[in-house]
Symmetry: D2
Subunit: 291 residues, 4 copies
Amino acid sequence: MTREDNWGRWGDADETGALNLVDPATTVAALGAVASGRVVSLAQPAGAAAGVPAHRNGSARYMDRDAGDYALGARSPNGFRFAEDTVTISTHSGTHVDALSHTWSGDQLYNGHSSANIRSTSGARRLGAEKLRSVVTRGILVDLVEDNGGPLAPSTPVGADALERAYATAGTEPQIGDAVLLRTGWWDPAKSPAEYFDLEPGLDIGAARWLADHDVAIVGADNYAVEQQPSPDGSTFPVHLHLIHKFGIPLIENLDLDELAATGRKVFVFVFAPIPLAGSTASPVTPLAIL
Amino acid sequence: MTREDNWGRWGDADETGALNLVDPATTVAALGAVASGRVVSLAQPAGAAAGVPAHRNGSARYMDRDAGDYALGARSPNGFRFAEDTVTISTHSGTHVDALSHTWSGDQLYNGHSSANIRSTSGARRLGAEKLRSVVTRGILVDLVEDNGGPLAPSTPVGADALERAYATAGTEPQIGDAVLLRTGWWDPAKSPAEYFDLEPGLDIGAARWLADHDVAIVGADNYAVEQQPSPDGSTFPVHLHLIHKFGIPLIENLDLDELAATGRKVFVFVFAPIPLAGSTASPVTPLAIL
Amino acid sequence: MTREDNWGRWGDADETGALNLVDPATTVAALGAVASGRVVSLAQPAGAAAGVPAHRNGSARYMDRDAGDYALGARSPNGFRFAEDTVTISTHSGTHVDALSHTWSGDQLYNGHSSANIRSTSGARRLGAEKLRSVVTRGILVDLVEDNGGPLAPSTPVGADALERAYATAGTEPQIGDAVLLRTGWWDPAKSPAEYFDLEPGLDIGAARWLADHDVAIVGADNYAVEQQPSPDGSTFPVHLHLIHKFGIPLIENLDLDELAATGRKVFVFVFAPIPLAGSTASPVTPLAIL
Amino acid sequence: MTREDNWGRWGDADETGALNLVDPATTVAALGAVASGRVVSLAQPAGAAAGVPAHRNGSARYMDRDAGDYALGARSPNGFRFAEDTVTISTHSGTHVDALSHTWSGDQLYNGHSSANIRSTSGARRLGAEKLRSVVTRGILVDLVEDNGGPLAPSTPVGADALERAYATAGTEPQIGDAVLLRTGWWDPAKSPAEYFDLEPGLDIGAARWLADHDVAIVGADNYAVEQQPSPDGSTFPVHLHLIHKFGIPLIENLDLDELAATGRKVFVFVFAPIPLAGSTASPVTPLAIL
């Protein structure tokens, strides 16, 4: 029998969502897949180097102290010199995870928390990025580029059949707590922001249902929205609503999956250690694959 | 024979430093210590929730869209609502890792890179936070609180003997590529910034030499400077200079080691996945211990 | 007969408020007071140099390019060099004017505009700082320091009698469109923010009524709140509500009135040219006195 | 006899530059031109509403508290509600004045101040925006749109002859301390940033010499660079160097001169009251014309 959502499944106060599906036994089992010990980062360059869609504030890096200050005569007590900086980041830019406060419908967030908790003064008092639990679990690469013989065309929908095919190719079955990563080939630093953000290939609602029904813990992609853009007529970000709002499954966006894909590994250990940005609706993250 | 530094050890172009000491075999060996599969985050709350010393810019979280906008009548196409935010972070606040561009002496950074690479316009063109390699290695907890019967007193120096004692307590020997984490008991959200930042117990230069001589890959602590503050007369941040500048060993600061300490585990798998902030001198990070 | 408020007085769409009271004839009349032609700035240092109360975000200045870049070898095409910077400013810090969107009661802003216009996404779509009209009008210095023989004590209320006395001292009567500036002696860069912001001497509600009844266009002071702090029991910023919300009179805060006071001039030409920060609830401003 | 520069003219410590040319007598004389008392703002919308060239950081407005918070249930003690915001501004965007620290050649700023004063840590310790004196002086509109029968074509140079013609049209002679404002017709919110910033019509070096030779105090324009862009071969921003670096004449950029032009007035009172952003290389400003 299929659940309609995960609300109440881990208690009324739960803010962890599907990350609850990863327990120590899941981690131990996942680690059984380690072979070479190679560690692959799945993050794109972050901060000012990351693109931002036009409707969001830009990111910036500001040097508060740098080598130029010393060249101009700043003191170096006992030879000590240092540099430091401040960054401004749109939390939904670069490789990031959407916190469970990111999207909802009506006046309730995931698990029935009141949306009144998301205010200018406080940020997200419920389901903020600091509530995302770090997990180590099994990762599955859904390599649609390989499957398709090249990057997906703009706005291509990815259905449940593609997910089933990927698991079959990987020679395994879906397991509770899996992290499922889609490689669409869409990410390309040379793309204009408008093209990159508005015409993405990605999951359709059927695929989202399939993922939720199989109790995956995390879904990610090498694009900006994970789901097909623009959304089909009569819907707006339906995959976000299904996965985040109904099932409490965080989405990881703007992954760099090329190095992982090049290894040929479809099953790996997935490490998820987001920055606990208090009250934020997303967090930068450097997910890892251990091979 | 003891090295004087790690310059040139991995080639003139190297920007990875002691993280080179962790290779896949190290990772595989480290993973052998996994027992329960429990994952412990070692990060403090980040962003606006993290304290910043008075000489640095403050951090902030700004809500770009929140539930209040919908309460005031913003459109919800097909029921879709979302919230997003922008953060400003002093990169050397909260749980962060110092990139190898953070500190130096004279006109050369670690490995002889010219300090002229650290500019206002470009940030750190060499040794920026995006050059820090993510690693999975063996972690060692040096629990000085346990050793001392309570938090260390202000400005207590921690010497090589304390490190040797910790390894003995852990029942193991130093290994190449270890991540060594010091729990001083200093971190306390109730402390004033001035007290917290200026009077820290921490490593002395002898301990720094011991760590470098044993080829550890990473050093971290539950305080702001890792090393004793204020610095002994005639020196200024000597541990920073020894570890970062000479040996390319990144320092992780402001760790939360309490939950880890409570488990009693002294040896564990340490996961290090810093955010690749392009050109920054530090990066937020959520280090993990896998038990 | 006394008005209860200025709502509707200049039409339902009005966003200018009491600044409407200054017309070209007022300006010409005011300019008649010019004697020496000396121009005195009434602004405190702005930006990162201005204090900010603890509940607001701090201000900062970031150098995007500076002389250090050239010292490190940046190109100087045809000898040309330049420096530039970015600033972050809490708009209610330093010498600033409160826009008419800053404060209200219930769900209506000044003149009945819906408060639903003040959103995270848009800022203030009504009564933002860009709607403040620049004016040149008559200024009156209410020198309470002179009157009192020294700076006012913490939390001293300033009543209508003090205003009447000041006009008498100045040898004139209130005129429609006056800018009335209070010198309390409270501002002092050496004061801690907590003391400065929480215990201010300033206007009481009777004085606010007197000012509105006399149709002044602008009220300012050399402190942070213009009005007595803390507010009397049973009220919260009653002067803000009376002047801004009911009468559309902008408040200028954190003025530097010492140089003006030293001239002995009580009547002068007052120039008000706020920065039209689109959608902001306040604006930095450098008011001038022409003597 | 013509000066080569203004260095030393007002003493070695001078940071005021050509603004020294406006004294109280200049102000009194200028005010003699007031006829109607009408006040015209010459500022474009500021902050996030102002365009920024691609090489600079974007501007932003962040609501720290807004009406949405109250709609979600925030307390309104005694009915009091308020909104506030934080802005990030690239100081060289919108209507702004270049401080005398903005541009130089070699290692000396205007008046021989060492460029080593412009650092990441301190900003401009000499010639920062807070050193710009507020002045009230005579303004002259050079209406090139009227002269040309329409907006100037891209990259049109404006020579000394055009300035002489404008003074003749205005029926007056250049006076010491004049503020000279060029209306090129270039500013247009519909232009793309690339077009707007890269192909501007503006002053040529001969016109810059003419202005300096006539001891004007301020030069402004309704475009981004005041001078012709791109710069003629073999030179880079020669007008900036001549006026700012050699003569200490601040430049006001991105003026809105349309309303002023529509009045037909060529001679008017010019009010200049820049925000004293401590250590910044430019400042937002709302210049006024009093007619």
